[in-house]
Every structure is written in C-alpha cells, then in structure tokens.
C-alpha cells in the first residue's frame, strides 16, 4: 500500500499534495489539518484580510483535492505517530497507515511569560481563526498595543492604524526587526511607522498587563508607564510545533532535524517548512526558516524524494513584508553577513542593502525595488557576486552579469 499522510494544512502541507501529484505520485494522499478551512494564503491575514474582510484566499479550490484524489481530514488532529506500526492515530479515533509521512506542522505563537498574557482581549496571529477573532475585536477597539516589533506586529500596526485605531508598538530591543534586517532598514521602517502616526517604544520592557475583569485594560512598562489598551496583540515570535515528532522519538533541535531532502532519521518521515531544521546550503549551519518560499520549495523537494527523484535543497530563500505601502523584500540569508553595501537612499523611499560574507554575496534586502529583488534571487542562485560599481550602476548592470536570457532557478 502506497499512502502519504501530510500533517498540517498550511502552505507547505498543501504544496506537498500539489507537488506529489505533479511528480506523478500514484499512491493515496491524506492531508490532515486541525483547521476548519481548506488551505489558504497566510500572508494576507495581517493585511487585506483584516482590512477588507471577506473570505480567505484559498491556495487551491476544493475541486483540486477531489480531482487529484487528495483526501482532506479537516478539524482533525494527529494525536500520535506510531513508527513501529507505521501509522498515525487521529483524535477522531482513526488509525491510518502510511508508507510516507510528511510533518508540516508549522509553528505556533510564542507567548511571553507576561502576567495577563492569557486575558480575553489579548491576541496572537498565526491562522485564520486568530485573524477572525482579531477582526471582530478590532471593530470596537480604539486603543491597541502591539507587543513585539517583528514582521507580523509591524504589518498589523500599519493595518490597524489604517482602520482608524490608535496603535502603539512596544519593542524590547534597541531597533526593529533586529535579527532580520540591516540597521539602515530598521531605521527606515521605524520612520515609516512614525509617519503613519504609530507610536513606537524601543528598548521598552513590559512589566505586565493591567487586568480589568477578564480583560486587559493597559500594558505597563518597566519604567512604570501605563499604555491604555482595549486590545493587546502579542507579536513575539513563534516556536516550531515539534510535539508529535518528539513523542515519536525523532531528533528535534529548534525544529525537526532533516537532511538535504527534508528526510528525518526515519527514512519514511519528512518534515518541512516552519517546523524543519536543516543545514542551509548558504550558511552551512542549522537553520529554520519561517516563510512561504521555504515551505513551498521544501515541499517540492520532499515530493521529489518520495517519488524517487531525490535532489538537494539549495533554493534561494526569499521573503517579503508589506509594511503599509512599503514593500520590503529579502533574498538570501543575512546571518553570515560581515560587510554591507548600501544602494539608493531612505529619503527617496528606495534602497537596497547588499550583504557579503567575505567576498561572496549572501543576501540582498530591498525597499520598494521588486525588480532588483528578483535580480538578487537570480544572482544568488547563480553564485554571482556583483562589484560595488555594478551595484551603483543598478539594474541594467546587474542584469548584464546574469548574461543572456533569464535563467530559471535551480529546483
């Protein structure tokens, strides 16, 4: 019996089903998701979904799953992986055997140890039901405090201010997005928040939430300041959902440990997306990436491995964040960066930061330069490092480095 069970209905889980069929997989496919909805696009949840309302944007229509014989088990949790028997047990009592198992369980919100973090008007944003609850609450809220100045928190800040709310962001670090972008971009992002009338506190430690009945009434800071709040959002990162894997005895180290083909130490079991820890080809160290690109591309690789066409995961990482009208994009990994070159200027709302590890280009961050972001992805895939002059000359010079017609990325 050939059957692949996919656990998790996010981008990676859905793409795994799509890719398995594209690769000609003829076995059964069962996708188990604890959500009530068909797999949908997550990036809009912090933006258009809150702003415009309406339904979620599905990744594929319902007919895709029926036409491609992908059995969906929605609102179902996998309770246990029994490796000896080669099956998973679901919370509805079903025990389903597998020949291959894909863990695409994602990550859940990190809840900081703050007193009051579980009050009823305190929200996190990881999935559509979070977003629906937040949307309902935001209708009546006028003052909103966001704890954590990461991508989701800052996107939300712009969206909520656009809905007429007073928004404050409290960030512990000395700059925004500190682990993700260069200081010049952090400064630019801060500037745009201020321009949108969003109050941002850097270096601010939260002491606790002031409670009024079952609700939070304010966020209090270590210095004693009280920020009144009808609604509080925790944008304090995510932790990989590794519980099932751990209980099944699979190696977990900040994510489920997988090899170049997304395979765990058990050759039947794969992990991908936000939950997977892998040695990144560019960095040569364990990495765990929380982004759509990584989930989709790793799903393609897992599908190839399951259909006997194993390949190394060497795709260029990329990421985007719409901060109000600002288009922030990243290609590659900046962790190894020891030198940067700046192109453009914050004053013109148009800039790029090129990161190098010694002499090698490793990452490019762009603000409002989507074309240059695409170029950067191609340069990184081809292993081409532009000179300072090429970068100063801009797109045409960079395009010339690629030579000839555009090349597809390695996949």
């Amino acid at each position: 019996m050939e059957r692949t069970i996919i656990v998790g209905g996010g981008h990676g889980g859905a793409q795994a089903a799509v890719s398995l069929r594209q690769e000609g997989y003829e076995g059964e496919i069962v996708l188990v998701s604890d959500e009530a909805h068909l797999p949908y696009h997550k990036p809009p949840l912090s933006k258009t979904f809150l702003k415009a309302g309406g339904a979620a944007q599905l990744l594929r229509p319902e007919s895709f799953y029926t036409d491609n014989a992908v059995e969906l088990k929605l609102e179902t949790r996998v309770a246990e992986i029994d490796r000896r028997a080669g099956l998973v047990r679901c919370d509805d009592g079903a025990a389903i055997e597998f020949s291959s198992l894909i863990l695409a369980t994602g990550a859940s919100a990190r809840r900081p140890p703050i007193a009051g973090a579980d009050l009823e008007n305190v929200f996190v944003l990881r999935n559509m039901s979070d977003a629906e609850r937040m949307r309902a609450e935001a209708d009546d809220a006028s003052e909103i405090v966001i704890i954590g100045g990461g991508f989701i928190g800052l996107e939300l800040a712009h969206t909520l201010v656009g809905l007429g709310k007073q928004v404050k962001v409290v960030e512990m670090g000395q700059r925004l997005l500190a682990r993700s972008v260069a200081p010049v971009i952090s400064a630019y992002v801060l500037d745009r928040l201020f321009a949108a009338d969003i109050d941002v506190r850097l270096g601010a430690e939260v002491r606790g939430l002031e409670q009024a009945g079952a609700r939070a009434a304010a966020v209090t800071l270590a210095g004693g300041e009280r920020l009144g709040a009808d609604m509080v959002v925790l944008g304090t990162g995510a932790v990989p959902s590794t519980g099932l894997a751990e209980a099944a005895g699979l190696a977990v180290d900040n994510g489920i440990v997988v090899d170049h083909a997304m395979r765990t130490a058990d050759p039947r079991i794969f992990a991908l997306g936000d939950v997977a820890s892998f040695t990144h080809w560019q960095w040569q160290k364990p990495a765990r990436l929380e982004c759509v690109q990584n989930a989709n591309d790793q799903a393609r690789h897992a599908a190839k491995a399951i259909t006997g066409k194993e390949t190394d995961y060497r795709d260029v990482s990329w990421f985007w964040s719409d901060q109000g009208s600002t288009k922030l994009q990243m290609a590659g990994l900046s962790m190894a960066s020891d030198r940067t070159i700046l192109s453009g200027s914050p004053e013109n709302d148009d800039l790029a930061v090129y990161h190098f590890d010694r002499d090698r280009l490793v990452c490019v961050e762009t603000v409002n330069r989507p074309g240059e972001h695409m170029l950067a992805r191609r340069l990184l895939a081809a292993g081409i490092t532009p000179s300072e002059a090429d970068i100063a000359d801009g797109k045409d010079a960079l395009k010339a480095l690629l030579g000839g017609p555009a090349q597809g990325r390695s996949a």
Binding site: H41, P43, P44, Q57, L58, R60, P61, S63, F64, D67, V292, Q293, N296, W320, D322, K327, Q329, P370, G371, E372, H373, M374, L375, R377, R378, K395, K399, P405, A406, G408, R409, A411
Partner: protein
C-alpha cells in the same frame, strides 16, 4: 454567483483549458480556481514572484501594458519574455476578454 465569462488557457504544449472566469477576479485567480496547470502564483497576487506569467498576444490591446513594477518582474520571469507577456495576477477579468485565448509559458520557476 457572480457573472462569469469563458477564458481559454493554452499550455506550451497546446493543451487548452476553457474556464468560467468570474468578472472582477484576476486572470491568475481564474486559472488557479479552475485548476489550470502551469500557473503557480506563489505570492498570492502581490506582484512579487513572477510565477503567474502569461502571453496575451491575442488580446494584447485589451489587457494593455504592464506597470513599471510588473515590467521589471517580467524581465526576470523563468520563461522567455515576449511582447505580450504579462503577470496574470495584474489583469482583471472583464467582459471584453470573453473567449480570449491566453497562452502559458513552459515554466514558471
């Protein structure tokens, strides 16, 4: 159910898929929601991934020229750019497109 028109997507190998495209949706959504193979649309329609590339030769006048931003993206799409290349997420389905044949490139990534 909103009003819909017929659009024909033709693969690089010449295989045609006729779909009922909802007026006001994007061409990308029309393809994706009808399971037309050959459109990836990884970014969901934000004009940042260039994986919903199409050739609009037959209706070039109707769909018009891309924006500067889209123009940049098309230069870097995986398949060859042609005069009537567009990103399908940036084209709205209107009644003027009824019966249009939209060609798909051989690859999107």
């Amino acid at each position: 159910m909103a009003e819909a028109i017929a659009i024909i997507f033709e693969s690089a190998e010449g295989v045609r898929h006729e779909v009922a495209a909802r007026l006001g949706a994007s061409l990308m959504e029309a393809a994706l929601m009808n399971n037309v193979p050959g459109i990836e649309a990884e970014c969901g329609g934000s004009c940042i991934c260039a994986t919903c590339h199409v050739y609009c030769d037959q209706v070039a006048d109707i769909v018009g020229a891309p924006s500067d931003e889209e123009d940049d993206m098309l230069d870097l799409a995986a398949a060859d750019r042609r005069a009537a290349s567009r990103l399908s997420c940036q084209i709205k389905v209107t009644s003027a497109l009824a019966g249009a044949i939209i060609q798909l490139p051989a690859r999107q990534y």
